[in-house]
Amino acid sequence: MKPIPLVPKPQTEPPALHDRAMDNLRYIRETMERATAFTGISGFGSIAIGITALLACVIAAQQATFNGWIAVWFAEGLISLLIAGWSMDRKARAIDMPLGSGPGRKAVFSLTPPMIAGGLLTIMLVQAGLTNVIPGVWLLLYGTGVITGGMYSVRVVPIMGICLMALGALALFSPAYSNWFMAAGFGGLHLVFGAIIVRKYGG
């Protein structure tokens, strides 16, 4: 009956421009984070961790008791965490844009779960008296963390994780040589891949 009034609804503020501006800012931030995570891993930091791990290997091998051995490695774990945190922070700070804050968070998120798992498993393995599988478990779990954390990074990082897992598997099945596998994994791999990152990805 009555013609439908063709009055346009009262226009609310056009959301398009506002939304697009937000979207653009989000895109910039995400791209910067992705690009930082890409080379955010510090090669020099990795080399430093490799050197301290080799020293830890030597000191740990001289310990008469298992408790001494595990205390040395626990200390080395803390030291390498500090080195990693400091070196990544330095590399991230080289970028003086306030938007970049992603790489550290990504590394923390990918490494924390396997480290917690490793800590809990270590306690249980010590209680069960299975101390000789601990090096293999550590290498395997650290390898998984490096693989997941390295998925968005340069390709050498997940490859390093795979090498760590391979050494871990070998260490599990030949516990007599586990100190050597620890030296090769935590020492050697950090040195080699650190050097590759320094050479190819600027520090």
Binding site: N24, I28, T31
Partner: protein, 127 residues
């Protein structure tokens, strides 16, 4: 304003103009002085990625942006012509490599763009 010939350039040029009015009429009322050159998605991505890194190679950028050789090189060329990024070519062994860096002009263009977007958002909130 004059279109530069695309002859080989070794030195990064000075920014031709801060404002590129490719389509002056269309969005002018809503977004005046918008830097069209980096408004385009892929170019904005290239600038952002370079802002977060000292330098990136062509293949780094290609992987990051998830794009094709042709697409990337066209847009990188545009940014290079505007003086926003600089480009060096060299050989690593036998492999030719292209390395991009953000110039000071490019960094300030990105900063301007970010503050432009922020002010747009603020305007909408206040009105």
């Amino acid at each position: 304003m004059a279109k530069q010939s695309t002859a080989k350039k070794t030195v990064p040029q000075k920014p031709v103009a801060e404002v590129h009015n490719a389509q002056p009429a269309k969005e002018k009322s809503a977004a005046p002085n918008l830097d069209r050159l980096i408004h385009e998605r892929l170019r904005l991505g290239i600038i952002s990625a370079l802002a977060a890194n000292e330098s990136l190679t062509f293949s780094d950028l290609k992987n990051l942006m998830n794009t094709t050789d042709g697409n990337l090189s066209v847009h990188a060329r545009k940014l290079e012509e505007a003086g926003y990024i600089s480009c060096t070519k060299f050989f690593e062994g036998r492999l030719p490599k292209t390395e991009y860096k953000l110039t000071a002009a490019g960094r300030s263009a990105l900063e301007n763009y970010v503050s432009h977007m922020e002010s747009l958002i603020k305007q909408m909130r206040n009105s």
